[in-house]
């Protein structure tokens, strides 16, 4: 009992568990557990018919961790880096290993810049970002937003009010950037008018 050698008794005996719970103990023997042992050398198991796979075509210089000795043969091709966020990302990959906090903090910063860049760009399209539809907050009304929260003992209610702040952040930043840009433009126009 903790302060003495034997383990405290179980509330329900093993025999009772076996009869009560379907499949109790079927994987009791570690030999029956597929993840045991952790490493198990077995090339037959995978279906691969190569020693080293053929290389996928690199259609643009693929950013990669400097902890890699070469570009791996296969990689994702979603969202090539572009704009200011792309420049930050390329720098983070080229300069810092995964072991450095700077690598990850730059990538996180690039993510925030990426969001602002896309919001600004979307305003010039026929499909601008829509915070109401994109956040899915409408579900609050259709899926019991109130009842799911109140009268419950949920620990996450304390910080949920911060979520709209995070959502509004890029809009505020984009608005600010647009405002500063417009002012600069107005200034430049008035000063060039002055010279005319």
């Amino acid at each position: 009992m903790t302060y003495t050698p034997q383990k405290p008794p179980l509330p329900v005996s093993v025999d009772e568990l076996r009869s009560r719970i379907p499949g109790w103990g079927v994987d009791l023997n570690p030999k029956d557990r597929p993840a045991v042992p952790k490493e198990r050398f077995d090339l037959e198991a995978t279906g691969a018919h190569w020693d080293f796979p053929e290389r996928q075509l690199e259609k643009w210089p693929r950013e990669r961790s400097i902890e890699h000795g070469m570009l791996p043969p296969v990689f994702g091709t979603s969202c090539p880096p572009r704009g200011i966020s792309g420049a930050i990302r390329k720098y983070a990959y080229a300069r810092y290993s995964e072991g450095r906090a700077a690598h990850w903090l730059l990538l996180l910063a690039a993510d925030r810049v990426d969001a602002v860049e896309h919001h600004l760009r979307s305003l010039l399209t026929t499909h601008p970002d829509n915070p109401i539809t994109e956040t899915g907050v409408w579900a609050e009304f259709t899926h019991h937003g109130m009842a799911s929260r109140f009268g419950q003992k949920r620990a996450d209610l304390a910080h949920q009010p911060l979520d709209p702040v995070i959502v509004a952040g890029p809009w505020v930043a984009a608005g600010g950037a647009a405002y500063v840009g417009a002012r600069k433009l107005a200034k430049a126009m008035s000063s060039s008018n002055g010279h005319a």
Partner: protein, 382 residues
């Protein structure tokens, strides 16, 4: 095609995109018939995962029909109904050769510390995912399996991540007969970990969460003893009380980076992104397990450092075991368990959402509305 697209933290929409092309001779293009949203997707959705790019399509749990195959594909043909593990892996690198499929070295240029995962940021390889009508599946001869005739689609889609991950989490606990196992988190992964712990011979399975509807599921689906951590001023003391002050033999962290229970930890991680993840559940696991015990971590954390109570883990002589789940390695045994009725993965599905309404789906799952436990996503072309 229609595809879910990330637009920045908490924002997603459905857009028209090109059907992905074959990029490699062993690629397949799969028409998705059913997908799911995973707790891991929430870390992306909340903007926590570095290098999550606007325009990416998420989704690493999906099944579908093979539409097209590359020139070197031998094991699949157009028309085959397939389930696809969330891991992208080559089958022959140093790690794959040893069964560490989730740690493949040939599929992710962006990071060496993590393998390839569908729709899971550039940090996991920059692949678009399956919350869309079509998806590119690399290494088609290695990853996917044909869905057995007897298997339900909803069971199949849950076997691509949530169910094997929970089962794997229980295995990482190295459970021996009669062990007291405590599972933190009654989300999909925690529910499957709790259920699987019995299969390994646990003597007592305890589940901790703060969402009553999920704890209810832990009692009915996973036969677990449950506690709501908000009922206790100090959960660790409560854990000691209910284990004769010994502590559990095994603790499983099925919560990960957005753990609640400490405002400071939660806000510095999930909101301010100053830590890789909020280690509240991990720290509770370390402090609730007995000396010499095992902590199994399947909850996911970001690549930045987290404020983990490492000193306690060291002083207690704990074994810490963890990984992304190598899904395909679990399949043959898990298929038997499903067939024998020991596990019914689809029992935890609560919502079936059309792809066009996926923004609401994410909000419901993220804000834990409407008793949500596991939402599925149904593409239009399904």
């Amino acid at each position: 095609m229609r595809a879910m697209v990330y637009r920045g933290p908490y924002k997603i929409r459905v857009e028209e995109k090109d059907v992905p092309p074959i990029e490699h001779p062993n690629d397949a293009i799969v028409r998705v018939t059913m997908a799911a949203i995973c707790g891991s997707d929430l870390h992306l959705y909340h903007g926590m995962m570095p290098d999550t790019r606007v325009g990416m399509t998420f989704g690493h749990e999906f099944i579908g029909v093979v539409e097209q195959v590359g020139s070197s594909v031998q094991n699949l043909q157009p028309g085959d109904r397939v389930m696809v593990p969330f891991n992208i892996f080559c089958g022959t690198c140093f790690f794959c050769a040893r069964g560490l499929y989730s740690n493949c070295h040939n599929v992710n240029p962006n990071a060496t510390a993590v393998g390839g995962i569908y729709g899971y940021s550039h940090t996991c390889g920059g692949y678009d995912g399956g919350q869309s009508e079509y998806v590119r599946v690399p290494f088609a001869d290695v990853g996917p399996s044909i869905i057995p005739d007897w298997m339900d689609d909803e069971d199949a889609v849950l076997l691509t991540d949530a169910c094997p991950t929970g089962y794997f989490g229980a295995q990482l606990g190295d459970i021996v007969e009669g062990d007291v196992v405590v599972v933190f988190g009654a989300g999909p992964v925690g529910l499957f970990a709790a259920k699987s712990s019995w299969l390994m011979g646990a003597g007592r399975v305890i589940v901790i969460d703060h969402l009553e509807h999920r704890l209810e599921k832990a009692r009915t689906f996973a036969h677990a003893e449950t506690y709501n951590f908000t009922d206790y001023d100090d959960l660790v003391v409560h854990m000691k009380k209910i284990t004769d002050y010994l502590g559990a033999d095994v603790a499983i962290d099925a919560v990960g980076a957005e753990a609640d229970g400490s405002f400071l930890q939660q806000v510095t991680s999930a909101k301010l992104k100053l830590q890789g993840g909020s280690p509240v559940a991990l720290n509770w696991a370390i402090d609730s397990v007995r000396k010499g015990g095992t902590v199994s971590v399947v909850g996911a954390y970001g690549p930045l450092f987290s404020a983990v109570k490492f000193g306690d883990a060291m002083n207690k002589g704990l074994t810490l075991r963890m990984n992304q789940c190598p899904v395909k390695r679990q399949w043959p045994r898990l298929f038997e368990h499903v067939r024998n009725g020991y596990l019914k993965p689809s029992d935890i599905v609560t919502h079936r959402i059309p792809l066009e309404h996926i923004s609401e789906g994410y909000h419901i799952f993220s804000a834990k509305l409407d008793g949500c436990i596991k939402p599925l996503v149904i593409p239009n072309a399904a």
